[in-house]
Symmetry: C2
Subunit: 615 residues, 2 copies
C-alpha cells in the first residue's frame, strides 16, 4: 500500500487553458471575494470573542470553518503567488484566531461566545469538530506552504485537548462528529507531527462510528443522524453512499487516510467498495454526487434527476476528487484518476464562474423555466448564508497542481495523472526531475512531454478510462508501453496521442430520468446544450445520433480555443398551446451546438440540458 | 347565474360498473375503517374533553375535521343504505361532539383541552376554522340526509359565535383561516338557514382575504402564509393556483358559492379564471393538482413531474371535482364537467383501493424503484397520521350520484352530466322525473336513456369534451340536437353513441418531464402501464404510435369488463450494467398492455407509468 504521494504545491506550475486561468482567477477574484465576505459578515471578527446576545452578526455554528478554508486558500495562494498585502491579512487573521483559544486549548467561536455551556453536547448537527478539522487543515497548509508555525502550534494544542476528551481509553468520552472532517484533518496532523495521540484519535473516530449502542441515540437521544451522518452501521460495513453527501465523502477521505497510515487493507477495501458503488450507481455524468436535494443527501441507486429538485453540491464534487486522488495515491489504480478527472473538468469547475466570483451550490444538469423551482438558486451567487462552496473553491483551485502528478520514491516512479500543459520540478528521491508538458489537454489529445533534466526514473503515463485508441512516440519512435523505465536525458520527448472523438453517451436505463436521452462527451469533458446557442428551446430538440458530431472552434463567446460540438437534430413542435391534446408533432431539421458543461451560464442565464432527447 | 342544483342524494341510484362498486365498498369498508381508526387513535374520545397533558393520544389541531368528515360520510351512507348499528354510532358521536361545546358556543377539542389560552391566535396553521367548517358540513349533511337536527343546532350556535368574533363590523376582529373550508361551510349553512349573519361572515372571509395590511403579517407576524394560504393578494386579483393545493381549491369552492349566493359576476369570473389556469397549466392528465411535494403546493406552470418528489393529493383532486361541479351548476358550461369527469375517473378513484380500505395520499403518475424516494408512501395505506384523504373518501364516494345530473327548475331542465348506468327519480319543479340509464360508461360509449315517467321537460345530454364523433336516436330516429325539449312519455328511449377510441395523448412540450413521452386515454379514462402486465420493465418500453391501439377485455385480474388496451412497442435494452457508456441500444419488438390508471396497484405493488416514451 501507499505507493504515491502528491507533489508539493509549488512543484507544478500549470500552463494549460482550463485549469491555469481558473487558478489565476482564484487568486485575483475568489480569494479576495471570500476575504471580503468573511469580514463583511462578521465571520473573522467573531474570533475577537466580543460578541454578545443582541448584537448583529450572531456567530453561527459553521463560521469557523469558512474562515479556516479561506485561510487555507490564502496559504496556497501566497505560496504560488506571493503578495505582501495578502500575507498581512493572513498573519492578522492567524493572530486573531489564535487569540480566541481558551486556556484548555479549546477553540470554537460559537461554543465560546454563544452557547458556552453546550460544548460538545450537539456533535450531530453543531459542526464543532468539523470546524476543528478545517482549522487544522488551515494550520497544516500554513506550515507546509509557507513554513508558518503559529497557527499550527495553536491547533496542535486544540488537537491535544480533543485527544484528552474523546477516545476509547478509560476516562475519555464517546462522541462522533455529525459532519465528518476532523478525521482527515487528524491524518494530516499525524503525518506532519507523527504524534501517536492524533493517530489514536483518528482511529477512534473511524472505528467507533456506527457501532452499538449508537452514540447519537444513546447520548444525544436522536436516531436521525444514524443514516444522515453515516453512523447506521460501523464504517467497515458500509456499502453505498449514504446520507449527507459531503459528510460521506469527507468520511471516505478520513478512512482512506487511516487505511494508508495503518496499512489497513480491510479498511482500504471498504473505501474501494464505496468509491465503486458511488461511481457505478450514484454519480452524475459530471461527477456530481448527492442527488437528493432534501438534506443534500445521496438518494437511492440510479436516482439521478437532472433538474428541479436535484442536488450535486459543489463541495461534494470537490470532496469526491479529494477522496479519489487519495485512493489513486494509495493503490495506483487509475480508475480513481478517471473519477478525479470527471469531477474536476465537469462537476467542480461548473460550480464557479469563469471570472471566479460567483458560485453554484447545486450543479444542475438541466434548467428550464418550467421545471420545479428548487430551494437553491439556479444562477451562480457571490456568497450564501451557508457559504461552504465559495470557501471550498478558494482552497481547492490553488491545489490543482497536486492532482497532475504522483510521485513514488520507493519505486523511483512518477505518474502523469492528468496530462495538462505544465512545468514541473518534482522531488523524486531527493532529486529534482523537471518535466515540461505542452498541448491543449483536455481539449486536444496530442501531448508533448519534454524531460528537461537528466535522471533515471520510471515514468508512467495514464491512459484515461475514456480513451480507447492512442499511440505514443519516444524521441520519434513508436512505443506501446507507457510505463517507461529508463535513464532520461534532457531533451527527451515523449509524444502521446489520445484519440479524442466527440462521443454519444448513454445512461443505464435504470436512470429513468434519462430514458430516451443522450449526452455528449469529448475526452473527459461533458458537454451541455445552452439555449442561447440553439435555434429554439432546448426542450424541443431531438439529437440525431446517426449523424456525425463535428468539433468546431470559436463558435461563440467562450474562452479562446474552447471546442464546441455541432451536430444534427430535429426540432419537435406542436400546434396550439393545449396542456394535453391528440395532435401529432411536427418535425423540422436543425443543428445544435454543445459547449463544455463546466462553462455553462457564463454568457447569461439560459435554459440548459446535459441529457437531451435522442432520435 | 345559478342555473342548476345537484339532485338530492337519494334520488340517483348508481348501477354502473365503476362508481357503484366503489360506493358499495365505501359503505362496507371505507367508512367502517375510518370509524375504527377514529376510535383507535383517540380522535372521537377526545371530544369527551378529559385529556390531560401527559396522557396518550394528545389531541391534534386537525382531529376534529377527521371526525366530522367520517360523520358526514356516515350520514350519506345511512341515507342511501340504512343500517341501525351504524346509526347508533352516529348518534353517539353526535352526542359526544355536542357535549364538547363550550357555553359561548365554541367547539374545538385542541383549543379547549391542549391550548385553551390560544383560541384563534394561530389561524394561519392551526386549522381551527377548518375544523369548524367540516363540523358544519357534517351538521348540514346530517340534517339534509337524515333529518337530524341536534348537530345542526350545535353548529349553528358555533357559527353564531364565529359571527360574533370575526367580521368587518365595528368591534369584530380580523382573521383569515390558514386552511380554507369555513367559507364553503358557511355557504351551506346560509343556504339551509337563510341566516344573513352567515352570509356576512362568508363575505368577510372571502373579501378581506389578501388585503393590506396583511392579517398574517400584521397580527401573526409571519409573512409565510401569504402565498402558501392564498393571501398574497385579494382573492379577486388571483390568477393561478397558488400555495397549498387543497387550501386553494377549497377557497375556490367558497368563492364560487359566494358568487352564486350574491349573484356576483366579477367573483365568478375569478373562479373561472382560476379553473381555466389550473386546467391549462397546472393539472396532471389525471386531474391531480398540486404537483410540488414540498408543502403540498402548486408549482410553477407546466411543472408536472410524474414520480419521485411529485404530489397530487387525493383530497386536492376531490376538492377540484367539488369546485368544478359548483361551477357547472352555476354556469351550465360543460367544460367544468370535463374537469369533474377527469378528476373522478382518474385522480380521485386512483386514491383508494378497489376494496375501499387503502389509500394514496400522493397519486403518482410514475413509480419505479430507481426514482427518488418520496416523503409519502408509494403503496396505499390504511390510514395516515395526517389522515385527511381516507376521511375525504368516506364522504366523497357516497355523494357521487350528485354529479350525474343537474336540475334547473326555472328552465324546467335536467342535464345528464355523466351518462353512467343509474336509476334516478329527480325532483323537477316538484314533480318526480324517473330516468333509467343502461350502458357501460365510461368503458363504452353506447348509452340507453329510458324515460320511465311521463313529463314535459327539457333534457340536455352533455357531449364530453373528449368526444369528437357521436350520434343519437330518439325512439329510433336520428337526432342531432341533444338539448331536447318535449313532452316525454314513459318508455321513450334516447340512444346515445359516443365514439370512444383509444387515443394517444401528447403533453404540451413545456411539460419537460413528458418530453418524448405519450399517454393513452379512452373516453375520460387515463390508462397506465403496470409492470406486471408487460414483458419486462416499463422503463424500457417505447410505444409505437403508428400502430393501432386495440381494446381487449378480461386480459388480467381486474374487475369484469374492464377494457385493457393493447399496442405495439419496442423494448430498448443495453448490454452491460455500466452507469454511463457508449454502446448503442438494442431493440426488440414487443406488445404492451395498459389498464385504467385508477385501478393500478390493485394487483400488488409494481412499477407503473402513465407517460411512456414514444417512437
Amino acid at each position: 500500500m501507499k505507493k504515491f504521494t502528491a507533489p508539493e504545491l509549488k512543484s507544478v506550475l500549470l500552463k494549460d487553458s482550463v485549469m491555469a486561468p481558473r487558478q489565476k482567477n482564484c487568486y485575483a477574484a475568489t480569494i479576495p471575494q471570500c476575504i471580503k465576505q468573511t469580514i463583511d459578515t462578521g465571520r473573522i471578527q467573531a474570533f475577537a470573542l466580543n460578541w454578545k446576545e443582541g448584537m448583529p452578526n450572531r456567530p453561527h455554528i459553521f463560521w469557523d470553518s469558512d474562515v479556516a478554508k479561506v485561510l487555507e486558500g490564502m496559504a496556497y495562494a501566497l505560496a504560488l503567488n506571493p503578495d505582501p498585502a495578502l500575507e498581512k491579512i493572513y498573519d492578522e487573521w492567524v493572530d486573531l484566531i489564535c487569540s480566541a483559544q481558551q486556556p484548555d486549548g479549546y477553540l470554537n467561536v460559537y461554543f465560546t461566545v454563544v452557547k458556552p455551556e453546550e460544548r460538545f453536547k450537539h456533535l450531530s448537527y453543531a459542526h464543532e469538530l468539523y470546524c476543528a478539522g478545517h482549522l487544522i487543515e488551515a494550520a497544516v497548509a500554513g506550515y507546509q506552504a509557507l513554513g508558518k508555525t503559529k497557527l499550527l502550534d495553536c491547533l496542535c494544542r486544540y488537537a491535544d485537548y480533543l485527544c484528552s476528551v474523546f477516545g476509547f481509553e478509560e476516562g475519555k468520552r464517546r462522541g462522533w462528529p455529525g459532519h465528518e472532517e476532523i478525521e482527515l484533518a487528524l491524518a494530516k496532523l499525524y503525518r506532519l507531527t507523527k504524534k501517536e495521540e492524533y493517530r489514536k484519535l483518528l482511529q477512534y473516530f473511524i472505528n467507533d462510528r456506527g457501532t452499538e449502542p449508537n452514540y447519537y441515540e444513546e447520548v444525544e437521544k436522536d436516531p436521525a443522524p444514524r443514516k444522515y451522518a453515516q453512523a447506521d452501521v460501523p464504517v467497515r460495513e458500509q456499502t453505498a453512499g449514504t446520507g449527507h453527501a459531503v459528510r460521506q465523502i469527507y468520511l471516505c477521505c478520513g478512512m482512506a487516510d487511516l487505511a494508508e497510515i495503518d496499512q489497513d487493507e480491510s479498511l482500504l477495501a471498504v473505501c474501494e467498495r464505496l468509491h465503486d458503488h458511488i461511481v457505478s450507481k450514484q454519480m452524475y455524468l459530471t461527477g456530481g454526487i448527492g442527488s437528493y436535494f432534501f438534506q443534500e443527501k445521496f438518494s437511492v441507486d440510479y436516482d439521478l434527476s437532472n433538474g428541479g429538485l436535484m442536488y450535486a453540491e459543489s463541495c461534494a464534487a470537490m470532496g469526491f476528487a479529494l477522496f479519489a486522488i487519495r485512493m489513486f495515491n494509495i493503490t495506483g489504480n487509475t480508475k480513481y484518476l478517471d473519477t478525479v478527472e470527471r469531477c474536476i473538468y465537469n462537476g467542480i469547475l461548473s460550480g464557479i464562474s469563469l471570472d471566479g466570483n460567483k458560485f453554484f451550490y447545486t450543479n444542475y444538469l438541466e434548467v428550464d423555466e418550467n421545471l420545479k423551482p428548487s430551494v437553491v438558486s439556479k444562477e451562480r451567487q457571490p456568497w450564501f448564508n451557508c457559504s461552504c462552496c465559495p470557501t471550498s473553491f478558494s482552497r481547492f483551485l490553488p491545489q490543482l497542481g497536486k492532482f497532475i502528478y504522483s510521485v513514488n520514491d520507493e519505486e523511483n516512479e512518477i505518474t502523469l495523472n492528468i496530462p495538462v500543459s505544465n512545468h514541473a520540478t518534482l522531488n523524486l528521491n531527493s532529486k529534482n526531475v523537471k518535466i515540461d508538458i505542452e498541448g491543449n489537454y483536455p481539449y486536444d489529445g496530442k501531448i508533448i512531454i519534454k524531460i528537461v533534466s537528466e535522471s533515471e526514473f520510471s515514468l508512467k503515463c495514464r491512459i484515461p478510462g475514456w480513451c480507447r485508441k492512442w499511440n505514443a512516440k519516444l524521441n520519434g519512435e513508436a512505443i506501446t508501453n507507457l510505463h517507461i523505465v529508463r535513464q532520461w536525458n534532457a531533451g527527451d520527448v515523449l509524444e502521446l496521442n489520445l484519440d479524442m472523438p466527440a462521443e454519444w453517451i448513454y445512461a443505464n436505463p435504470r436512470v429513468t430520468t434519462n430514458t430516451g436521452r443522450i449526452a455528449i462527451m469529448r475526452g473527459p469533458v461533458v458537454y451541455a446544450l445552452e439555449e442561447i446557442d440553439q435555434t429554439g428551446p432546448v426542450r424541443e430538440l431531438i439529437l440525431d445520433t446517426k449523424e456525425p458530431l463535428e468539433v468546431i472552434q470559436n463558435h461563440c463567446d467562450l474562452p479562446e480555443g474552447t471546442p464546441v460540438i455541432k451536430g444534427k437534430a430535429v426540432r419537435e413542435t406542436f400546434a396550439g398551446e393545449e396542456l394535453y391534446h391528440t395532435n401529432p408533432p411536427e418535425y423540422t431539421e436543425t443543428e445544435f451546438y454543445a459547449v463544455p458543461y463546466a462553462l455553462w451560464q457564463n454568457r447569461g442565464a439560459t435554459n440548459m440540458a446535459v441529457w437531451i432527447r435522442r432520435k
